[in-house]
């Protein structure tokens, strides 16, 4: 699944292991030395594996990005074409995130509250973008929105092409995070609001939206984080025109191709920073909302 896979319920992982019953763990004089050595080996293996696969490459990236000093890093990130690519990425990702917030919520609403023939199929379609390889997404969208479009809609090499590609790959995030909340939403509260004379708009704004907001925001944030780093789905439809439709990931790829590894590393670190910041803010906001909820209940 290309991807960040399904919307993750574990944005705020609660990983408190169940308390161990007294007496069960092997004590020092308990005469069971093997699990202890086994564990030590296990911990070593896990540490080594995670370091070799994940941490060392990222450490090498960060160190190499500073090969030409802090000023070299800064020059690489603020080179006009690099800045333009970062700008394009942020603008397009923000548009896609907002589009997801509105349309994703609407789609979730229709899938939960509405009944129509073929609803199950539409529901199944939502997961497709996570299952399809990103390069297939690119080709698929080109078939409809590309140069040989059967409906004459040519979006390739435009920013709208980027929006369509990113909207495709991020479709499930908001829908799948809002759907379960809508399913649990108490309809009686809405009916009460209506019977007290609240208009549809007022009921939606004052009753429904506050309940949905956490799910919408978390889905939107994840969609934004995914859009910022996306490569495969935009590579064919985006056009890769510097200063116009080139996104950060394409710029980085180009810098590697023309043998400017330090530039590529520096902009990569900047991109990593943007993704981490987004996810960090999302997590911070999520734990705050949770605390507020706990206090009010």
């Amino acid at each position: 699944m290309s991807t960040t896979t399904r919307p993750r319920e574990d944005v705020v992982p609660t990983s408190s292991p169940p308390p161990q019953p007294a007496g069960s763990p092997p004590t020092r004089e308990g005469g069971r030395p093997r699990p202890a050595t086994g564990r030590a080996i296990g911990v070593g293996v896990v540490g080594l594996w995670l370091s070799l696969i994940v941490l060392l490459p990222l450490a090498a990236l960060t160190v190499r990005s500073l090969d030409e000093g802090l000023s070299g890093f800064w020059d690489a990130v603020t080179a006009p074409v690099a800045l333009a690519a970062i700008g394009t990425t942020l603008v397009v990702s923000a548009v896609v995130a907002l589009l997801n917030a509105v349309m994703g919520t609407l789609v979730a609403w229709v899938l939960v509250r509405d009944e129509f023939p073929g609803k199950r199929w539409v529901n199944a379609l939502i997961d497709l973008p996570f299952a399809l390889p990103t390069i297939v997404a690119s080709i698929v969208l080109l078939a409809l929105y590309g140069p040989s479009s059967p409906v004459g809609l040519q979006l390739n090499a435009t920013r709208w092409g980027l929006v369509v590609a990113l909207a495709f790959v991020t479709l499930p995030f908001v829908v799948r995070s809002v759907q379960p909340v809508l399913l649990e939403l108490d309809r009686e509260v809405e009916e009460a609001a209506a019977s007290l004379g609240a208009s549809n708009g007022a009921t939606f704004r004052r009753v429904v939206l506050p309940t949905l907001a956490p799910a919408v925001i978390s889905g939107t944030g994840l969609a934004f984080a995914r859009a910022v780093g996306e490569y495969g789905s935009v590579v064919l439809i985006g056009g890769n025109i510097p200063r116009e439709t080139q996104v950060v990931s394409q710029y980085i790829q180009q810098q590697i191709e023309i043998d400017r590894p330090v530039n590529a590393a520096a902009v990569s670190v900047a991109l990593l920073g943007i993704s981490f910041l987004t996810l960090f803010l999302l997590r911070l906001w999520g734990s705050r909302a949770q605390r507020r909820e706990e206090r009010s209940s």
Binding site: P57, R64, V110, L111, T203, Y231, S249
Partner: protein, 269 residues
């Protein structure tokens, strides 16, 4: 909310237009384009030597990546769920890290570590093993992007089943290995299978990280996703790209179907 018939219809139309226009119609168009010239043309297009080599390479990468992810993923999940470790939060964060990293950044990072002028660049000159622009690089890139799946599917199951059965087995004199094989493995098998399916799907479909570390020679170092890309960009063979994409799509849909079936099996027992 009291909703009139008209507003319901408007909302439904908007939502359907969005989903169908974005997902269903493009897929139908590509299927039509692929099969329009006939099934024989399609089969011929995915049976060229380059296409067969690409399929083989994709399958080979999956065959290397899956066992590694299963072994190390299960050990990591057990460590996170069962053992008292210092810095567990840090390990959790590292396991989730690959989800937050752009595929292109994965590729660049691997080049910085394993490339000829990277930290481990000496490996290539001393042993002659080419990691970047070779099979090892593509395998490592795929492991990076699929690392979280097995851990994230197995760990919650381990929490859920608790330690009682394992302790009972230990009390009855079972060794650590016996407990693992007879108690733990049967309990986590569906979670593990789900994690493997996610890994396979992502490994088959990975593009950005792999294209960065592959030399991309047709018939040698092209995976299926790279084949789609090079047919469209380098060969201007739009039909060939459609056909290869349809093949990949078939594999992806098969995986999605498997996931739906498995999901039913692993959720509430």
């Amino acid at each position: 909310m009291t909703t009139t018939r008209r507003s319901v219809l408007t909302l439904r139309t908007l939502a359907l237009a969005y989903v169908l226009g974005l997902v269903a119609v493009p897929i139908l168009v590509i299927l039509f384009r692929t099969f329009e010239p006939g099934l024989a043309v399609f089969i011929e297009s995915i049976r060229t030597p380059a296409a067969i080599a690409a399929l083989n390479l994709s399958v080979l990468i999956v065959a290397i990546v899956v066992p590694l992810n299963v072994v190390f993923g299960v050990i990591t999940a057990i460590a996170l769920a069962r053992w008292r470790l210092p810095g567990k939060g840090l390990i959790q964060a590292v396991v989730d890290l690959p989800f937050a990293v752009s595929p292109i950044v994965v590729g660049v990072s691997l080049i910085m570590l394993w490339g000829a002028s990277g930290w481990f660049g000496g490996l290539q000159s001393s042993t002659g093993i080419r990691v970047i622009f070779g099979l090892p690089g593509m395998v490592i890139a795929t492991i990076f992007v699929t690392l979280p799946f097995v851990v994230r599917e197995v760990e919650p199951v381990l929490h859920e089943i608790g330690t009682e059965q394992e302790q009972a087995a230990a009390t009855l004199g079972a060794s650590g290995w016996q407990t693992f094989w007879r108690i733990t493995v049967p309990a986590i098998r569906w979670g593990l299978t789900y994690g493997v399916v996610l890994t396979v799907a992502r490994a088959l479909g990975e593009f950005g990280a792999v294209i960065m570390v592959s030399s991309g020679f047709p018939g040698v170092s092209q995976t299926l996703t790279l084949l789609v890309h090079s047919r469209y960009i380098d060969d201007h063979n739009t039909y060939g790209a459609y056909a290869a994409a349809t093949l990949l799509m078939g594999l992806a849909l098969g995986t999605l179907l498997l996931m739906t079936l498995l999901d039913r099996k692993r959720s509430p027992r």
